[in-house]
Symmetry: C2
Subunit: 446 residues, 2 copies
């Protein structure tokens, strides 16, 4: 880049992106940091973002944007922790209680996970909301407290503070208003700036593909996964990703308390089902990456076998119990969830009106039904009800008989319940389709 280009006006830099040129990290800093400092207007950034959405941002631009966002605030320093530090991110889905399984599983295997999670929005759930259905639990922890719990228990799940990557919030709010959310590079830089700032040396990603995911298309999801892995590796972290299916809800329960109950129930038995499979695979990837002597691969399946042993011996269950206790929550939830978790006053069954094979259980539609029951938010800041939700008895590909129960709705009122039952009747369709494998692909680079 010439000195001349260094001196370009913001409008001229935007013009370069408009005309299909690549911007350097220094040029992107002029714009994004200029916006944060007030010298560049949000309108200028909106124009830049739209030019990038339409012309594409390069891998180098995505890396540069990640670095600029990452630099905008505080970072977590995990260097005092004794074990390999591991982080995990999901792009969000329905019935996706993966963190509640992966965190204690990684901890049981000797890793340390400081997981900064989010809240649900729209049809997707959020780990913090789920955890907060446990009485007493505190997810607003200061960094030192997170480190203490991670060192002692092996895992901790808490809210991201406002001081971490503040530029990402500003930029995301702007993207949301200006039709510039859908960009692989912008999504990757948003996700990875937060993961890099959160400090773990190994990062595993769960990029969802399908109806209920941000990326409906598996090829687009894999492209996002590859870019995220490239960004992390470029920043000196170990990183791998799964692309997993979000055509149907991942777990059998959708809501908040009910997803906690499902995680506990899964951890009390040998791993089985799609949710357990994704959790096991993510933990396997993470530990394989974190142990470089294995060369990043687990061909013999020894890492996975070790994790299955931890799961079956109840080691992961124990870690989850200790984590909840360490965060001030009612740890008895792990032994008697029904006694501890809130329950909704009304229950209604969804019953099959005909026999056949379940052809579709569209994740987005089901997520929206559950959100409308009160489990989700239309807008940031909305109050949610931890007790409501839907438990599924079937998955895509299952044979059902007429009259068989397909799902159970937990609602605040008979009206809410009836609306959800009707919605579920409409959402679950019979047909010949076989389900997609829950693991669509693995992204292991370098």
């Amino acid at each position: 880049m010439s000195d001349h280009q260094e001196g370009l006006l913001p409008s001229e830099l935007i013009g370069l992106k408009r005309d299909g040129h690549e911007l350097s990290e220094a040029q992107l800093r002029v714009l994004v940091e200029g916006m944060l400092g007030g010298d560049v207007s949000e309108a200028q950034i909106a124009a830049l973002l739209m030019a990038g959405v339409l012309n594409g941002f390069t891998v180098a631009e995505a890396k540069a944007l990640t670095a600029i966002l990452w630099d905008s605030g505080e970072t977590l320093d995990l260097s005092s922790l004794s074990g390999p530090t591991i982080d995990k991110h999901s792009t969000g889905g329905v019935g996706d209680g993966t963190t509640l399984l992966v965190a204690p599983l990684v901890a049981a295997a000797g890793g340390q996970m400081v997981k900064l999670s989010g809240r649900g929005l729209g049809h997707t759930g959020g780990t913090l909301d789920k955890l907060e259905s446990i009485p007493g639990i505190n997810v607003s922890l200061e960094p030192q407290r997170m480190l203490d719990i991670a060192e002692r228990v092996g895992c901790v799940v808490a809210a991201q503070t406002d001081r971490l990557v503040p530029a990402d919030r500003t930029l995301y709010a702007l993207r949301d208003l200006t039709g510039t959310v859908e960009s692989t590079a912008l999504i990757a830089s948003s996700v990875m700036s937060k993961k890099l700032a959160a400090g773990a040396s190994t990062i595993v990603l769960d990029v969802k593909a399908g109806d209920g995911a941000f990326m409906p298309d598996a090829a687009a999801a894999e492209e996002l996964a590859r870019l995220c892995v490239q960004i992390a590796q470029d920043a000196g972290r170990r990183c791998a990703a799964l692309v997993t299916d979000m055509e149907q809800p991942l777990g059998r329960r959708i809501g908040n308390a009910t997803e906690v109950a499902e995680a506990i129930s899964l951890l009390r038995a040998p791993p089985s089902g799609r949710l357990a499979e994704v959790a096991l695979e993510l933990a396997t990837l993470a530990l394989t990456e974190a142990r470089p002597q294995a060369g990043g691969h687990d061909p013999s399946g020894s890492v996975r076998s070790e994790l299955v042993r931890h799961w079956e011996r109840g080691d992961a269950m124990e870690r989850l119990e200790r984590m909840i206790a360490a965060q001030g929550g009612a740890a008895e939830v792990c032994t008697d969830p029904a006694a501890i978790l809130p329950s909704a006053p009304v229950e209604r069954e969804v019953v099959a009106t005909a026999g056949g094979t379940v052809g579709a259980m569209p994740a987005r539609q089901i997520g929206e039904i559950v959100a409308r029951l009160g489990a989700g938010r239309k807008r940031k800041g909305d109050v949610i009800d931890p007790a409501v939700g839907v438990d599924l008895d079937v998955a895509v590909g299952d044979r059902v008989e007429a009259g068989q129960r397909l799902a159970l709705v937990h609602a605040r009122s008979a009206d809410d319940a009836q609306r959800a039952v009707n919605g579920m009747q409409e959402a679950i369709t019979l047909g010949g389709a076989s389900p997609r494998d829950v693991i669509c692909s693995r992204v292991l680079l370098g």
Copy 2:
């Protein structure tokens, strides 16, 4: 457009444009009027504009944007005038004193021109700046005063008030900052909203093409001209356009007082040269369009002949003199310009260092030299010097001898003059190129 689409959020409307869809006038109104009312942010409009610049706006969208801008403020009502009302617009150039010729020429032939003009910016001049080099002249006229002068004299040239098309100023300022100036549809809607609001029933356009023009490329200029004519005709106005050459300055003088002197000098002799040719053609187009019995064409050349007669008899000269007097200016400028117009303290000659044929006199470069002498503005609001400028002795295609004077620089200081002389020496190059015809094409639709 369905009711559903009517209810879309601004970000969703932006998303439609991003994805290549056409927005309806109602949808564009939600956005642009929303911005004016404060419900839609400038960032959202910037994203929309960039999406339109990259995906293109359709003709229908350009018409809709024109209508929305046009509706944003007051309009001039010319219905009280007795003759055919005619307006003229140039997209801006160097040495382009066309208005000073066309306005009195149209008036001499019985038309009435209320011309709202602008000021110079960057390398291009502005008619108001040129007129203001005449002592006493007032270009800030209330609408009634404009109508009085137009009725009595046939022409008046004044500043556009802030109350006319205010949305265009807001939008243009935003485009200037966000790299979204270069869009045929946005340029056309900006130009035509102002022309439609200015109320004339016939509009002629002079779209410049070449080095010194906003549109360097003649094909792009013709596309802009066609779109402008379509918009005007769709709004029930008569309209035609010329695309004219701006590879070299149009007139032989560039500055402010010096361009007034050139116009007076041209009107005192039979029409000759490129500037006179463009003025005659524009006036011919205007009067041909304004007299519908001719079917919009002047095949026998009778309109042009009539205008040449008016020119040669001094009728146009007389109209200019009366207009200047009616606007409070020193009308003696028309008989003794040297005595009335300001002159610069320093004059320096630009002399040919070798013989040959003039191959290029790049309009933009020469415009920038003259602006740097003090005749132009870097920014809106800069003070200009009416006396400085450059007079050209040659045009592209002229044979010159070594030692022959090529131009005369009028400057405030010896340093300024020397810099301009050096710049002109570099700008004027010898070579075999023959000049482009001054009239590149005519756009007569419908």
